[in-house]
Amino acid sequence: MQAAKAMPISAGGPGRVIALVGNPNSGKTTLFNALTGAHQQVGNWPGVTVERREGRLRLDSGRELMLVDLPGVYSLLGGGGLDQDIARQYVQSGAADGIVQVVDVGNLQRHLLLTHELLELGGPLLLVLNMMDEARARGQLPDLDALRQHLGGIVVLPIVARRGEGLAELRHALEEDFPRADAHLPPLYPPAIQDILSVLRAGTGDLGPLDRLRTLEGLAAVPPEHEQGFREAREAIVDKTGEDAADALAAARFAWAEETASAALPAVSDALPRDTWTQRLDRWILHPAAGLPIFLLVLYALLVSSFNAGAIFQDFFEDSSKALFVHGLGHVLLAAGLPDWSVQALAGGLGGGVSIVLSFVPPIAFTFLFLAALEDSGYLARAAFTMDRFFRRLGLPGTAMVPMVIGFGCNVPAIMATRTVEDPRARVITALMQPFMSCSARLAVYLAFAAVFFRGYGGQVVFALYLTGILAALVTAWLLRRGPLRGADRPLALELPPYRWPGLRSVVLHAWQRLRVFVLRVGKVIAVLGAVLLLLPGIGWVDGGLRGTDIDHSLLAQGSRALTVVFAPMGIGEEQWPAVAGLVAGAMVKEVVIGVMNGIYQRQESADLMAAYREPAIGAELRAAVLTIPAHGREFLKNLTDPLGFANIGDTAASAAAAGADHATLRGLAAGFTNLSAFAYLLFVLLYLPCASTFAALRRELGSRWAWFSMVYSLALAWLLAGSVYQLGTFDRHPSQSLLWLVMVLTVVLVFWWWWRRPGHIAMAETHILGRGPGS
């Protein structure tokens, strides 16, 4: 892994760099948000997928600092995931001009274990005691002078990050370089161990202090030139303490932390009001029987809140952006004298792409908002524990459940939510499962087909498709665990933070940072692909040149007709090329599958496409967009009991309206498909390629190789399964052809299984997951 550098994300950063370090749940990120507000940059650490957050802090003197929010870490010596490695490397590199350690004063003793390691490094250190309000409520105010004295005179400041209390003093302290621990720092180890460490330090001067300790404790390989030194040190520790080096050093650190904490705090009482409240809630939330329904209820609320509440604003975002960026822009370009085809490309294509990106914003923003609130409340850790016993059978931790449920709404935030999965292997598997979860975009396609082909039993068909998606996700996890992602499971071990009311500012900032990443990074891909795919229906190769043409002679029609041969095994002929065009466009965004079919069938009925550009009614469109908000607000209240919109399935008109399908589209579908080929088509829509935004999210989170794997794997799975369903259903009509198809499928599966189990894949996956970053 590359060493973490101090280079800020943004160019031309200010001089001093201060790193925020702390245990998970210490309130470090809340403090970071409180200090930097919106002046943050979110990126990735070099070579890995761990989120890197930096922010500018302007002090009262006018000087600026760069604050780096390091991943939450229990120990700089190791034992955690990739994020903890990052924090360790950064701190040890000396890249920061100073370290601010954030400590939950309610867990002072345990947090001081990290202080011990930071003192061992010897750099400038400032200790921030957070959550002083809770300490006051418990009557456990620490003696700051006694604590400073035990920590060698470093600056110790009490704060309440959520309320901004003590931040003025902290900002003042950050004006100057803060001091290192002085000569009065009490010994960090008992004399016997201290002597052994001094001898070892003298003989291994080329190693950093933390690397030396990691090696001594058996957490890192011993360099060949120092084998004797480490062996002698270990033997000496066993002689002096009767314990091996790891146990003896850990015991010494715990003893130091206990002594330091007890010098600063009055005796701890077990009957703490906050803990009692937490314990009462946990009795139900972690109950082996009640925990599961409570978890499902919370996720149901998350789903309803995120996607139904997001839907209130979705049409407003889509319609108003279409009025401005498609029709408005098209009008301006047309008035400027640009030819029709370029107006279609820029306004319909690029503007349309921007409109699609913006239409995603409300549901994704709500998802991030509610997820951040759940994270802050302390519930997510409980949910992971509740689900762990079920997911463990698949080799996944309980934390994998949350992204899967979010995936029913949209796969993109689901993939981004896999960051809560600590084990890197499990995180890859969880992310690769997401494209099979039936997102709300696919439901639009299901509804249109249900309206035409499955009247009376549409609900069962849609339910079967949802189950098939879940099954495909589970099979994928099973395959990955038996293929390149083999390896020992990491059993769940996590801290259950006390329940707290989420801080509004912190939640909004957290959600905003994630949303900004989505809009800027994932959105760019959608916008560019949108330009390409929306350009294709309007232009074609006519008379030896690329010109604006009718839909039947467009590049889209020519390409789609050529592709229908691929879909022949699932009963799709050349006359259903609009459905194939829908699939091609759906590779960009699944929402547009029906939209493209609408466009094609309407164009075939010779609608004037340039009319909206020549005479745009932007004012009226914007007014109509605003009016969608109260209308959808009323729908939201009405649909609380039907978050997925299944209620529409029995009603053809309601289904078509919900899917956004025009009557021309429904007539076109009815003419081209049978019930069986329609079901095979829906299976294909469910399983084939992750959409462009999902692909971009996979690429960003897992790297290009896994994103392309997902693309090829899902396409092959969709083709083989949809084809097999159609061939089995029509076996009596053409038995030899169907038999040949099934033999081919079996052969492909067997060859894949042989290739999949090759040991070389495991080493490759190891290198890729642990040693390379996204998109590299």
């Binding site: 034992g79 972690l286 925990g291 524990f385 016993r389 059993p491 259950l496």
Partner: protein, 94 residues
């Protein structure tokens, strides 16, 4: 690494509501370091808040609550200790 002696019980046999002393952890140095970070080490005294059951166990060490998945129940050895908060039988009689 410390071996589990016959006089100890695995964490899976601990009793809910009781206090236990962690006596052995049979796992890799990396996983032990992970538990250390959570405050769980040899000699720690933990209260069994919930479980052990099919999910695992919830412990409290000091004021920190720790959830351990089921696989840990068989690799951590503990010794039952009288719970400081619970009165002994003799105290109850008095």
């Amino acid at each position: 690494m410390t071996q589990i002696s016959p006089s100890l019980v695995t964490l899976g046999r601990a009793i809910q509501g009781s206090a236990v002393e962690i006596c052995a952890i049979q796992t890799s140095p990396q996983e032990r370091r992970r538990l250390l970070g959570l405050g769980l080490r040899l000699g720690s005294v933990a209260h069994i808040c919930q479980g052990p059951n099919a999910q695992g166990v919830v412990l409290q060490i000091g004021s920190v609550r720790i959830a351990l998945g089921r696989p840990w129940l068989e690799v951590i050895a503990v010794r039952q200790r009288p719970c400081p908060a619970a009165p002994t039988l003799a105290e109850k009689r008095v």
